[in-house]
C-alpha cells in the first residue's frame, strides 16, 4: 500500500502547493509516488524525482489537456486499483478540489479538506483542519481506504531532495460523461493601477464598497499612503475591479507591511492570500466579520464615513 501525491501543473511547471504536499508526504511515508495528468507532461514528470517522488506516474493524453476534473477521476481510479495506492494527497485548488471529491464518491474513500497539517500518531494518519472560521482546530482521520486529503495552500513548503525517479506511463481511459464538459476558452484579464505584488502598502476593497465607484475611496487612500489597491473575488467576479488585483486562494498572495481591508468579510479564501502582511487594519460594519479575528486593528463602522476622513488625515500629515 502506498501514498500518492497528485501534482497539478500550470503551463510546463508543477504548482507550488503540490510540491509542498509532496515534501510533506515524503516525510510521512516511504516510497511516495507522484502523478501528473495532462497533455505533453512527460518532461515535467521527469523533474519530480528531485522533489522527493520515488516513482512518477504520468497520464499523458489529449483528453487531459484541459484543466477539467472528471477525466482525472477516471485516471486516478485506475491507478489506485492497479498500483495499490491507499492514500492520495492533493494541494488544494479549484481543479484539485473537484478531482478529490469526485474520487471520494467513486471509491468510497473518506475525504478531509482544508488541512493545514498531517502527521502519523502511532501509525494512524491524522490531519488538522481549522473549522468555524479557523476558531477551532479539529483533528480528523479516515475510516476507509483510500484516504483522501486536500491541503490548504501555503501549508507546506516544497523541498528539493536531489533525487530522481522513474517515470511510468499509466493508461488513460476516459468515460463518456467525463469528456462531456469541454474548455471553450480563456478570458484574459486586463490590469490597471500599480501592481500589488511587492507593494509595501495595500488598500483592499470588498463588496462592502457597495458599487464599482466605491473603489475610488480605496484608490484615494492608497494614493495618500503611497500604496496599491487590491480586491476580493466577490468584486472581481462582479466585474467591479480587475482580476490582476485579486488577493486570495485564486488570486495573488501578498505580504505588504500594511494591509488595509475595507468592506471585506475576510473569508478563508481571502485570508490565505494576505495573512503574511506585517500589519492588518480592517474596517467593517459587521462585528462578526471573520477579518476581525486576525487583524491588528479592527474598526466596526461604516467605511464610507471612515475611509475618506482617513485619507484626508494622511494627506494633512504628509503636507505637514
Amino acid at each position: 500500500m502506498g501514498a500518492l501525491v497528485y501534482v497539478e501543473h500550470h503551463g510546463s511547471a508543477p504548482v507550488k502547493a503540490s510540491l509542498g504536499v509532496l515534501a510533506k508526504a515524503v516525510k510521512l511515508f516511504p516510497d511516495v509516488a507522484a502523478i501528473v495528468c495532462g497533455s505533453g507532461v512527460r518532461e515535467l514528470a521527469g523533474t519530480l524525482g528531485a522533489y522527493g517522488a520515488a516513482t512518477v506516474y504520468v497520464a499523458d493524453d489529449e483528453a487531459l489537456s484541459a484543466p477539467l476534473p472528471q477525466p482525472r477521476v477516471d485516471v486516478l481510479e485506475r491507478v489506485l486499483a492497479d498500483h495499490g495506492v491507499d492514500t492520495v494527497l492533493f494541494g488544494s485548488s479549484v481543479l484539485a478540489t473537484d478531482v478529490a471529491a469526485g474520487l471520494a464518491a467513486r471509491t468510497g474513500g473518506g475525504l478531509n479538506w482544508d488541512l493545514v497539517d498531517l502527521r502519523l500518531e502511532n501509525g494512524r494518519l491524522v490531519g488538522t483542519r481549522p473549522a468555524l472560521q479557523d476558531s477551532v482546530y479539529v483533528d480528523v482521520g479516515w475510516k476507509t481506504a483510500p484516504r483522501l486529503a486536500l491541503v490548504r495552500s501555503g501549508s507546506f513548503e516544497p523541498a528539493q531532495t536531489g533525487g530522481s525517479a522513474p517515470v511510468v506511463d499509466v493508461p488513460v481511459e476516459v468515460s463518456e460523461f467525463s469528456r462531456a464538459a469541454t474548455l471553450a476558452g480563456h478570458e484574459s484579464a486586463e490590469s490597471s493601477g500599480p501592481a500589488i505584488e511587492g507593494a509595501e502598502v495595500i488598500v483592499a476593497g470588498g463588496r462592502g464598497l457597495g458599487s464599482p465607484d466605491g473603489f475610488r475611496l480605496c484608490e484615494e487612500l492608497a494614493g495618500a499612503l503611497g500604496g496599491a489597491v487590491a480586491s476580493t473575488r466577490a468584486v472581481v467576479d462582479s466585474g467591479w475591479y480587475p482580476y490582476s488585483t485579486q488577493v486570495g486562494q485564486t488570486g495573488k498572495t501578498v505580504a505588504p507591511k500594511l494591509y488595509v481591508a475595507c468592506g471585506i468579510s475576510g473569508a478563508i479564501q481571502h485570508k490565505v492570500g494576505m495573512q503574511g502582511s506585517g500589519t492588518i487594519v480592517a474596517i467593517n460594519k459587521d462585528r462578526n466579520a471573520p477579518i476581525f479575528d486576525y487583524c491588528d486593528l479592527g474598526i466596526v463602522g461604516d467605511l464610507h464615513a471612515i475611509v475618506p476622513r482617513l485619507t484626508e488625515l494622511v494627506r494633512q500629515r504628509k503636507t505637514g
Binding site: 500550470h10 484543466p67 476534473p69 472528471q70 485548488s93 481543479l95 473537484d98 478529490a100 471529491a101 469526485g102 474520487l103 471520494a104 464518491a105 467513486r106 468510497g108 474513500g109 473518506g110 475525504l111 479538506w113 468555524l132 477551532v136 482546530y137 479539529v138 483533528d139 480528523v140 482521520g141 479516515w142 475510516k143 486536500l150 460523461f177 462531456a180 464538459a181 469541454t182 476558452g185 480563456h186 478570458e187 484574459s188 484579464a189 473575488r233 472581481v236 467576479d237 482580476y243 486562494q249 485564486t250 507591511k257 500594511l258 478563508i268 487594519v281 462585528r287 462578526n288 486576525y294 487583524c295 491588528d296 486593528l297 466596526v300 461604516d302 464615513a305 471612515i306 482617513l310 494622511v314
Partner: protein
C-alpha cells in the same frame, strides 16, 4: 427546462456557532437558516426558468424541520421542494451525503442541477463533484457566469490562473460562485404563496437506500478531537465612535506606517 437546486440548512449565521464537544459535531440545535451561499444558486435557477420556461425544485438532505427553511426558497419563487429527512442520516460526511443527495436528484431527472458556492458551516465546496460523479453527469464548478442555450450550458469561472469558459451539454451539474448575481428578496406575495407550494419529505427507504450507507456508518472520515487554534497576535477591535479615522492614523504613526 427543469432545474434542481441543492440547498442546505445551516445554523443561523448571525448566532455564534460551536462544535458540540460530546458528539464532535456542529451544534445544530439552534435556529436553522437557508445557507446564504445558496441564494445565488436559487436566483440563477429562477432566472433560467423565467427565460426558458419550466420549473425549479429545491432539494435538501436535512432534518425534518428544514422544510421551514426550504420555504424561503419557495418564497423567492421556486416551484416545489423535496427534503430527504431520516434519523440515520445524521453525522453523514461527504461520501454519505452525496449518496443520499444523488439518489434524490436521480429521482428528479432535472436538466440542470445547481449548487451554491459552499456551506456556511462546512466551508467545504466539495459536494457537487461527488454528486456529479455518482450521477455520471458533466460538472462545471465556480461559475461566476452561466448561460444555457440550445441544450448547452456555458460557464465562466475563476481558477488560480484567471478565467476559463467551459461548456457542457444538458443534463449537467453546475456550482455557482456567490458573485454570479444579486439574489432577489422574497415578495410578500411570494412569502404567502410559499405555504401552498408542494413540499415532499422522503425517507431513505423511499429512495431505496440502506441505513448502512449513510450517517457515521457510511462515512469515510472521522473526527478525533477539538483543539484551540494556534495563538495569534492580539486583535484590537473597536466600535467607531466618530473618531475612527483619527484612531487608525494614530495607530499607523505609532507603527511608523504613515
Amino acid at each position: 427546462m427543469k432545474v434542481a437546486v441543492c440547498v442546505k440548512e445551516v445554523p443561523d449565521p448571525a448566532a455564534p456557532r460551536k462544535i458540540d464537544a460530546s458528539t464532535l459535531r456542529l451544534d445544530r440545535s439552534g435556529e436553522g437558516a437557508l445557507n446564504p451561499w445558496d441564494l445565488p444558486a436559487v436566483e440563477a435557477a429562477l432566472r433560467l426558468v423565467e427565460e426558458h420556461g419550466g420549473e425549479v425544485v429545491c432539494v435538501s438532505v436535512a432534518p425534518e424541520r428544514a422544510a421551514a427553511t426550504q420555504r424561503k426558497a419557495l418564497a423567492m419563487g421556486a416551484d416545489r421542494a423535496v427534503l430527504v429527512a431520516d434519523e440515520a442520516i445524521a453525522g453523514s460526511d461527504l461520501v454519505a451525503t452525496s449518496r443520499v443527495l444523488a439518489e434524490a436528484l436521480r429521482r428528479e431527472g432535472a436538466d440542470l442541477v445547481l449548487f451554491g458556492q459552499q456551506g456556511a458551516d462546512s466551508d467545504g465546496a466539495v459536494l457537487w463533484a461527488a454528486v456529479a460523479d455518482r450521477l455520471r453527469l458533466p460538472l462545471m464548478s465556480q461559475a461566476a457566469g452561466l448561460e444555457v442555450s440550445g441544450g448547452t450550458a456555458r460557464v465562466k469561472r475563476q481558477t488560480e490562473h484567471g478565467y476559463e469558459v467551459i461548456e457542457a451539454p444538458l443534463p449537467c451539474v453546475v456550482a455557482v460562485s456567490d458573485a454570479i448575481n444579486e439574489p432577489r428578496y422574497p415578495s410578500l406575495k411570494g412569502i404567502m404563496g410559499a405555504k401552498k407550494k408542494p413540499q415532499e419529505t422522503l425517507s431513505l427507504a423511499d429512495l431505496g437506500l440502506d441505513a448502512g450507507g449513510v450517517g457515521e456508518a457510511g462515512s469515510g472520515t472521522a473526527v478525533y478531537a477539538l483543539g484551540p487554534p494556534p495563538p495569534r497576535g492580539d486583535s484590537l477591535v473597536v466600535e467607531d465612535d466618530g473618531q475612527a479615522a483619527e484612531r487608525i492614523l494614530e495607530f499607523l504613526v505609532e507603527r511608523k506606517l504613515a
